[in-house]
């Protein structure tokens, strides 16, 4: 009886084994939509880097490049947009898919009837989002390189940083999204959370251009830490101390998100 299943022994298997099972579910689901998602992953950097980096950039550079560190605007913009792309990807994957899984299609509930625990389901979804982030950011970086926006081989190091930025957003937002019963608050997050961050976290212009009173606020946002580190790596100006602070901040916030999510997932799925 119950032959072929592995967890008949106690103590139970480590959570990672279960999380990978949930990841495999997401991968099976993704098989139907991956093609379309690749197109948008390609198109997004082409449009933004083309319009803002090359188009707007020609205006910016004609006025001098001192404020952006003596590089072309395209070179300045690309690492910032890379981090911002990680954020938008993560926010997208952490909102509607979560509510769909717990409310509309109830695939989360299906998983709870198996050996998986709520935290395994949460972590498995996070693994999938991490994979999507890696894909999207790698494509972004490749497009940026083709357009001539990458100067140093160090830019490769900005890939894991961008992915970490995305994971941080993913952990925090997913921990919150699972507590929602309707999707109306997601639009609020997009409009009053994501878009201001996108515009004012140093993606398009250095935050030294912001009014002095607004700057501390920018330092607090996870996106700014991601943008700042990606950019310094990409331009070859990174320092170890600065990098540790940025990574520490992002990883710390991600850990808080995971800890909260472990609780909120349990509360929603084990009623």
């Amino acid at each position: 009886m119950a032959a072929g299943t592995r967890e008949l022994t106690r103590p139970a298997l480590p959570g990672a084994v279960f999380a990978v099972r949930e990841l495999r579910f997401w991968l099976t689901d993704y098989r139907r939509t991956w093609r379309g998602s690749i197109y948008s992953s390609l198109l997004n950097p082409l449009l933004f880097l083309g319009a803002m980096g090359l188009g707007l950039g020609s205006l910016v550079n004609s006025r001098g490049d001192a404020a952006i560190g003596g590089v072309s605007y395209l070179t300045f913009l690309a690492p910032g947009l890379l981090a911002a792309t990680a954020m938008t990807t993560a926010v997208g994957e952490s909102t509607y898919p979560v509510l769909a899984s717990v409310k509309w299609v109830k695939t989360y509930q299906a998983a709870t009837a198996s050996p998986l625990r709520p935290a395994d389901i949460f972590h498995g979804h996070m693994l999938f989002v991490a994979l999507r982030l890696t894909m999207n950011c790698a494509i972004f970086l490749a497009v940026a390189a083709v357009l001539g926006a990458v100067q140093s081989p160090w830019a490769l190091a900005s890939l894991p940083v961008a992915v970490l930025t995305g994971i941080t957003f993913n952990a925090v937002i997913e921990a919150w999204a699972i507590t929602r019963t309707r999707d109306t608050s997601f639009a609020v997050i997009f409009r009053f959370g994501m878009i201001p961050l996108f515009l004012f976290s140093g993606t398009f212009f250095p935050i030294t251009q912001l009014p002095a009173w607004l700057r501390p606020l920018a330092y607090l946002t996870p996106l700014w830490h991601g943008v700042a580190l990606c950019r310094s790596l990409s331009l070859g100006t990174a320092t170890l101390g600065g990098a540790l602070i940025h990574v520490g901040y992002l990883a710390g916030l991600a850990a808080v998100g995971v800890a909260v999510g472990n609780r909120t997932y349990r509360r929603r799925l084990y009623v």
């Binding site: 009886m1 299943t5 967890e7 695939t107 299906a110």
Partner: protein, 305 residues
């Protein structure tokens, strides 16, 4: 196999399950019968280890559902009240992703999928998407899915609610076969015919408590009479007739909004006695007692209310 003592489930102020005791044995088919809101589903969720009890003891396969949830669930099959199929995947893929949750190899899943789809008569739909399938087919697929890990206990929460009569019989037929194969079935239902068909033993639940326990036959013998005479009169004569009928000997009588029920040993003889009083009912029906009568007796309400 399962033992509950003083089991309680509270949601804030509301007590859904209010101190129930029951014990289940291997190979039997056990039912929780009661109207909506009686606490059946809450009890099932506690047995399924997805809802920690607020109070009391619960032991499943000798294990603690809170500490050993993953181990217990590996040995359970669950057919939830609402289907939780992935509508965008195919029939086969649904079994594949579910089998993986249990850590089964692709090969083992493929082999069991063939057997299970055959069992629920969905083999010809294996490669079809789930979304357009009928309610009955989805239900059968959910049952197939719940069997992927060859569970020792199968939990079915209202397995045929919302299905048409033909689809219900198809589901019953499959469940009956599983029972024959020795799978322990636990089901909730508010259909007395379902409980009579499938349950060796059942408890009648009402407002979070267990009102009675036994086999369907035992419950009927204990709480009802062999036969029931159902009488229907014109609405304006209903009350008058009910008063007159007080003189007809019957073990018990229920005056419902639309009918009058007389609980007796011999329904035909009683009908003759009613006619002898000069009362001619619009319609009359002599039938055997059912679990519905037991429920009415125990709670004063009908199951479907």
């Amino acid at each position: 196999m399962i033992r509950a003592r003083g089991l309680v489930k509270r949601f804030g102020e509301f007590t859904a399950v209010d101190g129930v005791d029951f014990e289940l044995y291997r190979g039997e088919s056990f039912g929780f019968l009661g109207p909506n809101g009686a606490g059946k589903s809450s009890t099932m969720r506690m047995i399924g280890c997805v809802s920690p009890p607020s109070e009391g003891e619960l032991s499943i396969l000798g294990l603690d559902p809170v500490a050993d949830g993953p181990v217990i669930r590996a040995r359970l099959g669950v057919v939830p009240q609402e289907d939780t199929l992935d509508l965008e995947l195919t029939v086969r893929e649904n079994l594949l992703v579910y089998g993986r949750y249990f850590g089964m190899s692709r090969e083992l899943i493929r082999e069991r999928t063939a057997r299970l789809l055959d069992f629920v008569q969905l083999s010809d739909r294996a490669e079809d998407q789930v979304e357009p399938l009928s309610g009955g087919m989805k239900r059968r697929l959910t049952i197939a899915r719940s069997l992927i890990n060859e569970p020792e206990i199968l939990l079915l929460d209202e397995p045929t609610t919302g299905l048409d009569p033909q689809a219900r019989h198809a589901v019953w037929d499959r469940l009956f076969r599983l029972k024959q194969q020795g799978v322990t079935l636990i089901l909730t239902t508010h259909y007395m015919d379902e409980a009579e068909q499938l349950c060796d033993r059942l408890v009648v639940m009402d407002r979070g408590k267990i009102a009675a326990e036994g086999s369907p036959r035992e419950l009927i013998e204990r709480y009802s009479t062999p036969e029931v005479l159902e009488l229907r009169f014109e609405p304006d004569r209903h009350q008058v007739a009910a008063e007159k009928l007080a003189s007809v000997p019957a073990e018990r009588r229920e005056v419902l909004a639309d009918r009058i029920l007389l609980y007796v040993t011999d329904g035909d003889a009683t009908l003759a006695a009613v006619r002898a009083l000069g009362l001619e009912p619009l319609t009359s029906l002599v039938r055997r007692s059912t679990l519905e009568d037991v429920f009415l007796r125990l709670t004063g309400r009908r199951l479907e209310d």
